[in-house]
Symmetry: C2
Subunit: 156 residues, 2 copies
DNA sequence: CCAGTGAGTAGGAAATCTGGACCCACGATA
DNA sequence: TATCGTGGGTCCAGATTTCCTACTCACTGG
């Protein structure tokens, strides 16, 4: 008797359960920029200190950040992204590009990112197999869990 | 006297202010799958109905969704993604891929997406200028707002 | 008439968020 | 020595959100 009210099993939901809370992705942004200290995070994100402490614990537990000592006496810590955390950076860059275009409308961009090739980074999501840009009309989803179709729970 | 406690101006933060609330991106996932009706959203996302109603209003206001009538009598609505909404789908796909690898560890994936090229979609974020994959070590950020550096607010 | 469906509202309890105050260890200043 | 400043937090009261269950309203189909 599977509870019929369970939501769709989905890696997007799983990922958001880890990094979808308020401030979590901004923490990752700052850490990727190299700002891993508590006070920097508080200032640059604008989050309350205790909430930030909670988020940091969660992200460390999830294996997205690590807490490092950078000074023994006095004890001082710094958060850094693990490889898994760094692999979320492309998500952030894609989101930034969307915000640049749709919210800032391409003007007064507060931050530019330069790619190693020397140009300004404009991220494009592509298909590994064919290299083509990913666009909605080229995608077809297939649910692979019994009890679920793309449109919803099946009539069991 | 700029308030020194304002957070860093950033398109990522802007974007998350619109779509970063709980369930918002899951709404977009369902809508992109073609499930734009209220009850489908409730079932597939597992969100409380009132919260969902709030999110839908917000996403419509933000120009990410539109509300369409698909039946006059009785009045029935369907939510669809606007072009701006569809352009967030690559973000979702990238997030899904991250979740597939880091949370599901590549096993028991609940959903597969096929690309128009005939292969299973594995999204890769690339640089528009050079086509290379975006990786953390190739990125350099530059703050472009007076009062801010990459590391934090400048000393005025 | 009755049951069912789609799209919500209503209301109270539970959780989360907020801004600020506070703590502790240390180093620097005076 | 006393005091200040800094880094990294914790704790608290109050406001806001979110959750959950139930209810409404309009309509359809039998």
């Amino acid at each position: 008797m599977a509870a019929t009210k369970d939501p769709r099993p989905c890696s997007i939901a799983d990922a958001l359960a880890l990094v979808g809370e308020k401030y979590s992705l901004l923490v990752l942004r700052e850490v990727c920029l190299g700002n891993g200290r508590f006070d920097q995070l508080v200032r640059n994100i604008g989050a309350p200190r205790d909430i930030l402490a909670t988020r940091l614990r969660r992200l460390v537990d999830a294996g997205i950040l690590t807490k490092r000592v950078y000074s023994e006496r006095p004890q001082r810590f710094e958060y850094r992204a693990t490889p898994a955390g760094l692999e979320l950076e492309p998500v952030l860059m894609t989101l930034k590009e969307w915000g640049d275009r749709h919210i800032r409308k391409g003007t007064d961009l507060p931050m530019a990112v330069e790619h190693g090739c020397g140009n300004e980074l404009v991220p494009v999501v592509t298909c590994r197999a064919c290299g083509g840009e990913v666009r909605h009309e080229d995608l077809t989803a297939h649910a692979q869990v019994p009890g679920w179709t793309v449109t919803g729970p099946s009539a069991a």
